[in-house]
């Protein structure tokens, strides 16, 4: 039975089918001192894929700042971990599941959430919040509607069933993602410092134990698949779809945490991409040890599976762990309590080799390190000519619309800007009773029970800026995420990122990649924010082109005292409204330019890192002295949209609506001042009795500030340009996506 595949001869054609280059194959032969058999070839093929091996990205990723006082675990593990004080730590990471979601939206998105959750609880942390970042084509396309609905449903079902609140996210609809949707999922977990555990195998003779779901033929070649462009052939290549089983994962999570907190394990690792192969060789390699397993002992769902298939299967909801000496039985007892499959499938050795047997017969024998150290490439890069075109764009050729009320109405209803209530209402965002700021404000906030501590979190991406100017765009993504944290009153402490790009072997794509990483790194260094982990998703491309370069940034913020939290909504009639920062002069790269004039071009906004940092510092100081009632940054749709968003709360059934009357600052193009997306701007409201102290603090921090108006009334009035009933704006904003999806 299983001998048939074992006998497959490793020919150049087979090597190519495994996505390996001829020189990579030669390298494998050199490592082994002989030709690999087909099973060994399979191991290298998945581990050296871009998805697992970071062949084309590793060199640049090394340039990112990853150090900081609070970093307990940087990149290289399943998730990063940071100290948050009082003996507590937070684990967080973002990961993509773009390709599986494109093909099977519900299962793809659901298993994406499952995967990132495993990354968190394998570190010993209890997941306490989920976030997600989504990109689709225009929502007018019925195909996109189905995809969007399926993805959201998958994310919702998985998180809801697991009992982990999905507290924040973002969704963008843009042509660039029509054929390649993006589904990035982030998870955040809490743990005590002494509960940290890592994915390493040590201690010769220790038992290697497999737990969780049985292994089937699903997702074989998933990792290699995620590393090539989508073509009709790749749809063929796919084996059975991975089906999400959140109930199994809930059991797995509870059991895993019980094992870790009971101090029964040396190391543990989830089986994600490249399944058993990846977990085995990575654990061995991190522990500086070897592992020997027998695939016949792996619990299997299907008959007649070959070692090749068992090793490469990406069946979900499985973990590999190494028990402490003498704890093997206790491990099995805990698993039995949770009705989970468990099987001792091997032992830790000191050979440094990953040895695989089938019923005692050797089927693979390779150095574990060689699998985890994929070749590193430095692809060629060249600046795309289109970038120069963008810069030549003359804004004067765009006429200022007569009716600016109409423009604002259109922007409020634009699916990218409109409220994502349709989405987050499907997510249980309150379970675990920690959510203090629910979805709808700049950042979500959860408390850490038993302490004063709080965590703010947000996830952001700006592919359209990065397409116009990858360096500046990437800086802005980091700034926007950190600004969202600052608006909530917290201090940004750490970041995770997911880099979604096209084919890096194309010089223009690699140029973007290179510049984006430079921008991310510079912004993080300027703000003193370390990057503790992330994920790369390349080859998001189809025959008509690549997606916009889309770095997605997940940012963690910390409150020493969560009572200092701030939301974006106006609170009280009569409060003063201020603008921190300066009014914009340009419409380049704005959502307004796209929605109203159909153009995606121009100079993307620029960002001064020092100015931005001063803004963050004053926001934190203001929150700590309780001098601001609300704070909301200007992003998509500029000043006018941000002001409107401050006029209504995002919480259904308690929609508090408060009008505002403000002057429009500045001179020059009125559309630029209303809808341009100049950076480093925040709208705040302040009690009149706090105005003096407020202005003092802001000025001391060197942030430009101007009192522009007052909260109150039933209308939103901006100078003589805009005058609309707030309920009308709220209705457009909250029901736009709901109405589109009901069609």
């Amino acid at each position: 039975m299983s001998s048939s595949i074992m006998d497959v001869e490793v020919t150049p054609k087979v090597v190519k089918e495994h996505g390996l280059k001829p020189e990579e194959y030669d390298h494998i032969v050199k490592i082994l001192g002989r030709k690999p058999n087909i099973t060994e070839l399979g191991l290298y093929s998945v581990m050296w894929s871009e998805h697992c091996g970071y062949k084309h990205s590793r060199a640049l990723l090394k340039t990112l700042p990853t150090k900081g006082d609070k970093v307990l675990q940087g990149p290289g593990e399943n998730a990063g971990i940071m100290d948050i004080g009082e003996g507590w730590a937070v684990a967080f990471k973002v990961e993509s599941h773009n390709h599986p979601s494109a093909i099977e939206p519900y299962q793809g998105a659901a298993t994406g959430v499952g995967g990132i959750l495993r990354d968190i609880f394998t570190m010993g942390a209890r997941p306490v919040a989920n976030l997600n970042s989504l990109r689709f084509g225009p929502l007018t396309d019925p195909k996109v509607k189905r995809l969007f609905a399926g993805v959201v449903h998958g994310i919702a079902d998985y998180g809801n069933c697991m009992g982990i609140p999905t507290v924040a996210g973002e969704v963008v609809f843009d042509d660039s993602y029509s054929e390649n949707c993006l589904v990035n999922a982030m998870s955040v977990g809490l743990l005590k410092h002494d509960q940290i555990i890592r994915g390493k195998a040590t201690g010769v003779g220790n038992a290697v134990i497999y737990i969780g779901a049985t292994t089937g033929r699903d997702g074989i070649h998933g990792a290699t698949f995620a590393s090539t462009e989508i073509t009709d052939e790749s749809t063929e290549k796919r084996s059975a779809v991975q089906v999400a089983d959140p109930f199994m994962e809930k059991l797995l999570m509870e059991a895993t945490l019980e094992l870790i907190h009971g101090d029964l394990l040396v190391g543990i690792q989830d089986m994600g991409a490249a399944g058993l192969t990846c977990s085995t060789c990575e654990m061995a390699s991190r522990g500086g040890a070897g592992i020997e397993i027998d695939v016949a002992k792996v619990p299997q769902r299907e008959k007649g599976m070959t070692p090749y298939e068992i090793l490469l299967s990406e069946s979900q909801e499985r973990m590999l762990l190494v028990a402490k000496p003498g704890c093997e039985q206790k491990v099995h007892d805990v698993l039995a309590k949770w009705d989970l499959h468990a099987a001792t499938i091997g032992v830790v050795t000191d050979t440094g080799r990953m040895i695989v047997k089938e019923n005692g017969k050797l089927v693979a024998d390779v150095p574990a390190d060689s699998l985890t150290e994929a070749p590193v490439y430095h692809p060629a890069k060249s600046e795309p000519a289109i970038l120069k075109e963008y810069k030549k764009f003359d804004e004067a050729t765009v006429a200022v619309p007569k009716d600016l009320n109409e423009v604002l109405e259109k922007l409020m209803a634009d699916p990218t800007i409109a409220s994502k209530r349709w989405v987050y209402r499907q997510y249980d965002h309150m379970v675990r009773s920690n959510t203090l700021i629910r979805p709808g404000s700049d950042a979500a906030v959860i408390r850490v029970k038993g302490t004063q501590l709080g965590l703010a979190m947000t996830i952001d991406g700006l592919g359209s800026y990065c397409a116009l100017d990858p360096y500046e765009g990437a800086k802005i993504v980091v700034a926007e995420a950190a600004r969202n944290i600052a608006c909530s009153g917290a201090q940004a402490i750490g970041m995770t990122d997911c880099l979604n790009f096209g084919n890096p072997e194309k010089p223009e794509v690699y140029y973007y990649f290179d510049r984006v990483i430079a921008g991310l790194g510079d912004a993080c260094r300027a703000f003193g924010i370390p990057i503790t982990g992330g994920n790369v998703s390349l080859y998001n491309e189809n025959p008509t082109g690549a997606i916009d370069p889309t770095p997605i940034v997940g940012m963690m913020g910390l409150f020493q005292n969560v009572e200092n939290r701030v939301t974006q909504w106006f609170k009280k009639e009569g409060d003063f409204i201020y603008l921190l920062g300066e009014i914009g002069q340009s419409i380049g790269g704005s959502r307004y330019l796209k929605v109203t004039h159909g153009k995606k071009t121009g100079l993307c906004p620029t960002l001064n890192l020092e100015t931005e940092l001063k803004l963050h510092k004053s926001l934190k100081a203001l929150a700590e002295s309780h001098l601001i009632q609300s704070a909301h940054d200007c992003s998509d749709g500029g000043f006018a949209v941000a002001l409107a968003e401050s006029c209504f709360t995002g919480v259904t059934h308690e929609a508090q609506v408060l009008g505002a009357t403000v002057t429009l600052l500045g001179t020059g193009r009125v559309d630029a001042r209303l809808f341009g997306e100049a950076q480093s701007r925040v709208i705040v409201s302040v009690k009149p009795s706090d105005a003096v102290k407020f202005e003092e603090i802001v000025k001391k921090n060197g942030v430009p500030v101007e009192r522009i108006g007052v909260v109150g009334g039933a209308e939103m009035v901006i100078g003589s340009e805009v005058k609309l009933p707030v309920v009308k704006l709220a209705d457009l904003f909250f029901t736009s996506i709901e109405k589109t999806m009901a069609l």
């Binding site: 449903h153 997510y427 309150m430 009773s433 059934h653």
Partner: protein, 235 residues
């Protein structure tokens, strides 16, 4: 007072119930694993929300066969107080401790948001701290909270005054717009004939503190604490 919170595989609001009862209401709480049959002598049993057995097949359908549910049924038969929240309500219906069933939300989607409910009957151990007609702001989070019962059953619910809370608007009007999931007659929570078993879809466990946006759930817990065990059962 002594509360026992049941824990099924896949329960996930067990933690929230434990927290609100122990840390906010300062009561004695113990967790009872579904494979156990000893309820540890409680004054009140809480069947918490979540996704017991993943809610695979039908919400609450598998959990009702857990060993612990036999003990809960015995406890209820003797007049002990039992409250089921969300998935707990579904389990109590499946187990026949409460009449009717909870089917898929009318809009087919999971809904997580605050709602208002109106107290229809305060002569119960679960609502005695409320006034009739009082509105409570409490969150819901469910995909299958659409209460259904046949005509005969509905009549008997009404005849016995078993409808305890209904979805309403902020002002207490029971309107179709205020009905989030299509429940028959806006029913959000009911009790059994003896008044000692109560099930509701909204989450008093998530609304026991101001910091969470509402403390109206506290009134439910206060009612239970005020009810002298068994005393109100004869109403």
């Amino acid at each position: 007072m002594r509360f026992s919170v049941t824990v099924f595989p896949g329960s996930n609001c067990d933690h929230d119930c434990e927290y609100v009862l122990r840390d906010v209401e300062k009561q004695d709480v113990q967790m009872i694993w579904h494979k156990d049959t000893d309820l540890k002598n409680p004054d009140c049993v809480v069947v918490p929300g979540g996704f017991s057995y993943g809610d695979y097949l039908r919400t609450g359908a598998i959990a009702r066969f857990s060993p612990v549910m036999k003990s809960v049924a015995d406890f209820a038969a003797k007049g002990g107080l039992v409250i089921g929240i969300c998935n707990g309500f579904q389990i109590l219906c499946e187990a026949g401790l409460l009449p009717g069933a909870l089917i898929r939300n009318k809009g087919l989607k999971f809904i997580c948001q605050n709602v208002y409910i109106r107290v229809e009957n305060n002569q119960t151990p679960f609502t005695n701290a409320c006034k009739v007609g009082q509105t409570l702001k409490i969150p819901i989070a469910h995909g299958e909270g659409n209460y259904f019962i046949d005509a005969e059953g509905l009549k008997s619910l009404k005849d016995n005054n078993q409808i305890i809370v209904r979805y309403c608007d902020e002002k207490g009007n029971v309107t179709p717009e205020a009905n989030p999931n299509g429940s028959l007659e806006n029913i959000a929570g009911i009790c059994n004939v003896n008044r000692n078993v109560f099930g509701l879809m909204p989450h008093p466990d998530r609304s026991g503190e101001d910091i969470l946006g509402s403390h109206d759930g506290h009134l439910i817990w206060q009612s239970i604490l005020a009810a002298k065990v068994g005393a109100k059962c004869a109403d």
